[in-house]
């Protein structure tokens, strides 16, 4: 899956608040880009697998985010739900190069190919 990614720059990591997130609208969906207290940056689709809650608006703690709708907790590293809950938030490839956040988009997300 990582083979055909289109990497786009979305600006300095400093634009994302620590223990917070910003979103990125793509052609197909919205991506939540998180910055943790230890200054690592992660990305997930901004959609909780439970009831589609906007994960970018949750509380970020450690390498986890808590969905603002029903308090499900997801790992930012893997997207997996923690504790007794089942489910997995979709992980998006993401890296920081020279302080600039880059997100790896699929062809659909990048609008290079249209769905259907």
């Amino acid at each position: 899956m990582t083979n055909n990614l289109t990497w786009v720059e979305v600006g300095p990591a400093a634009n994302i608040p620590q223990q917070g997130a910003r979103t990125l609208q793509t052609q197909t969906d919205r991506i939540a880009i998180f910055r943790t207290l230890d200054d690592q940056v992660f990305a997930l689709l901004d959609r909780c697998p439970h009831k589609q809650g906007p994960l970018a608006q949750g509380i970020v703690h450690g390498h986890f985010v808590t969905c603002p709708l029903h308090n499900m907790v997801f790992s930012l590293e893997t997207g997996e739900a923690q504790g007794p809950d089942d489910g997995c938030a979709a992980k998006v490839e993401c890296q920081v190069v020279d302080g600039i956040v880059r997100v790896g988009l699929t062809e659909l997300q990048a609008g290079l190919r249209h769905a259907g």
Partner: protein
């Protein structure tokens, strides 16, 4: 000169105790347990107060305890046991010929038996300047008062002595905000209790907490003219200090005994039943020398007290055979344990276990297959087990492979703490301070029907001193009572901490913690930055504790409070402008209609709190929506916050033919006074203009119902899952009183309730009487609460919408990122 016969009836033998400290009073307690009526008891104490737990001076200094919590025997206890107490009146002379003691005030008291428990004196190094103001020892409550006085001003402090007491003083002062340097003569701290490795780990931990440790530091002079300004070392270094604490050790106090001709060497010489060289005079505690040993720890004192009490009660006894001691450092978050001889060498072997990641170090010294000594750092949970094996002289050869992993791995008792405690033999010591073994605790539980930790403390003294064995005692209770035992333990806030809400609130104030990292560091949070449960709670507690000073931490707020609107199931938001007392006008209504049109807002609804709710607003539209509402004079209605929500009113005397008071204007006034205040949970009010109560004030957090002569004030109502009608707080007559009682009640709730606890469960927990005593009965306290509320309102009543609509606050919340470049 006064002459007071100790007992006119002289029916009982007269026992006089010199020293109102832990050793003397423990001996008295042990005597009373054995023979309550044998002696007529008189106690002389040098300190002007009741008996307290001296080993709790460190928590007293750090603020984890207050004086009342460390009192052992209250004045009532002395009265109930018919003990004559002369506190603040030290004995200055013993006349052994006449069998009389003479106190400083001139009181003469006759004795048949005399017990000396004169304790020890802190050693003062006679360097130049040791008498300057600001140089103290760390020995009694007066010393702690001086230290707290200095700490209140902040500034640098020097502690001379890196032993047990010195380090506890250093940590206490540092937690009180002083800049502390520890000077220690030896090569590593606590060298009598720790080996160099554990000493190193401890010094590292202290440095991490901001305490400077200088070892091999030889003090030359304490510098200052009247008051201390610094300490000069022999190598010429100067360390500035506004306070110098000398904690270099103690020396048995045998002056009175020596003056009266008793045998005194380093301490007062006693035999195994604590008799001095005069058969009518006994001595216990730190002042004695027994078989050549002097002790400065609490456990031996209590063992002496038992032998002495046996003897005085004329019970046959084996006597005191000396103590094997173990040590724990009483510093929150630093686990250090040592026991026995761990110097190594000779025929000894050692087992060492290290885990650098967790900062754990364990060293067990063996000789002939038996434990000779142990040093534990970082994980001391097995200290008691090693100590037990050592005291019993058990052969541990078979356990050797897993010895370092502790009891859980040593076959037999499994990792389950209940099984472990059940597997202990009856003579296993549970409480090291008070020398209480498992058998006595279990016997007390079953025979006396004890069910709580406090019961056990009261009956057996187990865990009543330093408290570090309270977990073991609770396990014993659980193992003994089985399913009948309900642990009274408080529930931690979340898995990030062991602390419950109340202790966190208390420690935030006591330790002067003013930021989230400070709380997490000092209270030992187990996660790096908390979680969605504890962070919002801490943010609120800090806001409530330090109004105007603590900066709100947006990332620790639930999204609604971060973007000042209510998230809906589809990720859009609802917006509720404030309508004071539920009143609006055509201008506001037009503005609301215009906003709904302009931003294509799908739903407009009237709420239960008499407001208008705009539902389905897109997040990025929020600032613009607010700007338009602000322009029409409307501010945030805080319909999303743990804060004052709405004040609902009926039309009252303004319009209603039944109305007895102006409920609308009262509602508007209350809302103008209270809006913007953050609270443990949402808070709703209502004002009804007559007892018909059309505003439904009796299911609100604070409800006001007009009567003919004034207002009834109701509290603790709730219309949620569990409908709860309010309870009547009180009746008042003037509008001014309504405002003051309202502010005071809210402030009490803000200061005492736990985060996410509505007023209804809070009042059910603490009782209405608790609230009435503070808000109604005590006018001064009500005024003080009201004043604190109004002070916090000075920085709370800022419209969050205006800040975001026109001042760009938190702009990142409302704008998505954009793609800059594609490869």
């Amino acid at each position: 000169m006064n002459h007071v016969p100790a007992n006119i009836k002289a029916a009982k033998a007269r026992l006089v105790v010199i020293g109102n400290g832990m050793a003397g009073m423990r001996t008295v307690e042990e005597i009373l347990n054995r023979t309550p009526d044998k002696y007529d008891i008189t106690v002389f104490g040098a300190e002007p107060r009741v008996n307290y737990n001296r080993i709790m001076l460190s928590p007293l200094l750090s603020g984890e305890k207050d004086f009342d919590e460390i009192v052992i025997n209250t004045p009532e206890w002395y009265r109930e046991n018919n003990i004559h107490l002369y506190s603040g009146d030290p004995v200055i002379e013993i006349d052994r010929i006449r069998k009389v003691v003479i106190s400083k005030s001139g009181t003469e008291t006759e004795y048949d038996r005399l017990l000396l428990a004169t304790g020890s004196d802190p050693i003062i190094i006679p360097v130049p300047g040791h008498k300057l103001d600001g140089v103290v020892t760390f020995r009694d409550v007066d010393d702690v008062d001086v230290m707290l006085g200095a700490a209140a001003k902040g500034g640098p402090a020097v502690v001379i002595g890196g032993g047990l007491l010195g380090l506890e003083a250093a940590v206490g002062l540092q937690s009180r905000g002083m800049d502390v340097t520890v000077l220690h003569l030896a090569g590593h701290v606590m060298e009598r209790q720790l080996d160099p490795s554990a000493g190193y780990l401890l010094a590292q931990e202290l440095e991490r907490r901001g305490i400077t440790v200088i070892t091999e530091a030889d003090t030359a002079e304490i510098v200052g003219t009247d008051t201390v300004t610094g300490v000069r070392l022999k190598d010429g270094r100067m360390i500035p200090a506004d306070l110098v604490v000398m904690a270099v050790g103690i020396r048995p106090n045998g002056r009175l005994a020596a003056d009266t001709g008793l045998s005194v060497e380093r301490g007062i010489v006693v035999d195994d039943v604590m008799t001095t060289s005069d058969p009518a005079i006994f001595a216990v505690g730190e002042c004695v020398q027994h078989r050549g040993q002097c002790y400065g720890l609490v456990a031996p004192l209590f063992e002496m007290a038992k032998s002495c009490a046996d003897h005085l009660a004329e019970i046959e006894t084996d006597g005191y055979a000396g103590s094997v001691t173990s040590t724990k450092l009483k510093v929150t978050g630093v686990d250090v344990f040592s026991a026995g001889d761990f110097s190594g060498g000779g025929n000894t072997e050692e087992i060492v276990f290290r885990d650098a990641g967790r900062g754990v170090y364990k060293r067990i010294v063996l000789e002939d297959g038996k434990i000779k000594g142990a040093v534990l750092y970082g994980d001391t949970s097995d200290g008691g087990w090693y100590f037990q094996l050592m005291k019993e002289g058990q052969d541990v050869t078979e356990l050797r492979d897993t010895l370092a992993f502790g009891q859980a791995f040593a076959g037999g008792s499994a990792g389950n703490p209940l099984d472990a405690v059940a597997a202990l033999p009856d003579d296993a010591e549970i409480c090291g301070c008070n020398g209480v073994c498992k058998g006595s605790i279990v016997a007390a539980i079953t025979e006396k029907g004890l069910t709580t930790l406090d019961d056990v403390k009261g009956h057996t003294k187990a865990s009543a001193s330093c408290g570090s064995c309270s977990g073991l005692v609770e396990n014993l209770l659980a193992a003994t009572l089985g399913g009948d035992y309900q642990a009274a333990t408080v529930k931690p806030i979340c898995t990030c901490t062991e602390h419950d809400h109340d202790s966190v609130r208390r420690l935030i104030i006591a330790k002067n913690l003013k930021s989230m990292p400070a709380v997490m560091q000092e209270l030992e949070w187990k996660s790096s930055d908390g979680c969605h449960v504890c962070r919002p709670a801490l943010n609120y507690y800090l806001l409530a504790a330090w109004p105007g000073e603590y900066v709100d931490h947006g990332a620790s707020r639930f999204i609604n409070e971060r973007v000042h609107a209510n998230i809906q199931k589809d990720g859009t938001y609802s917006v509720v402008p404030r309508m004071w007392g539920g009143l609006t006008n055509p201008r506001e209504l037009r503005a609301i209609a215009d906003v709904a049109d302009k931003f294509d807002i799908p739903t407009v609804k009237v709420t239960g709190g008499q407001r208008i709710d705009l539902l389905g607003v897109k997040k990025e539209d929020l600032p613009a929506v607010w700007a338009d509402l602000n322009a029409a004079g409307m501010v945030s209605g805080h319909a999303y916050g743990k804060s004052l929500r709405t004040v609902k009113t009926c039309v009252g005397q303004e319009w209603c033919r039944f109305g007895t008071q102006m409920s609308m204007s009262m509602g508007v006034e209350l809302e103008k006074m209270t809006w913007g205040s953050w609270m443990p949970h949402k808070f709703k009010m209502a004002v009804s203009g007559c007892p018909r109560n059309c505003a439904e004030a009796t299911i609100k957090d604070f409800g006001v119902v007009a009567t003919d002569g004034g207002w009834d004030l109701h509290v603790g109502g709730n219309g949620g899952i569990h409908v709860r009608a309010t309870e009547l707080l009180c009746k008042v007559t003037t509008d001014e009183e309504v405002r003051e009682y309202c502010g005071a009640f809210i402030q009490l709730y803000r200061e005492e309730a736990r985060y996410l606890e509505r007023t209804a469960p809070w009042i059910e927990r603490v009782g209405l009487k608790h609230v009435q005593e503070r808000v109604v009965d005590d006018a001064d306290n009500r005024k003080a609460l009201f004043d604190r509320f109004m002070i916090s309102q000075q920085t709370a009543q800022i419209d969050p919408w205006a800040e975001r609509a026109s001042e760009g606050v938190d702009a990142h919340e409302f704008k998505p990122l954009s793609m800059i470049a594609a490869e």
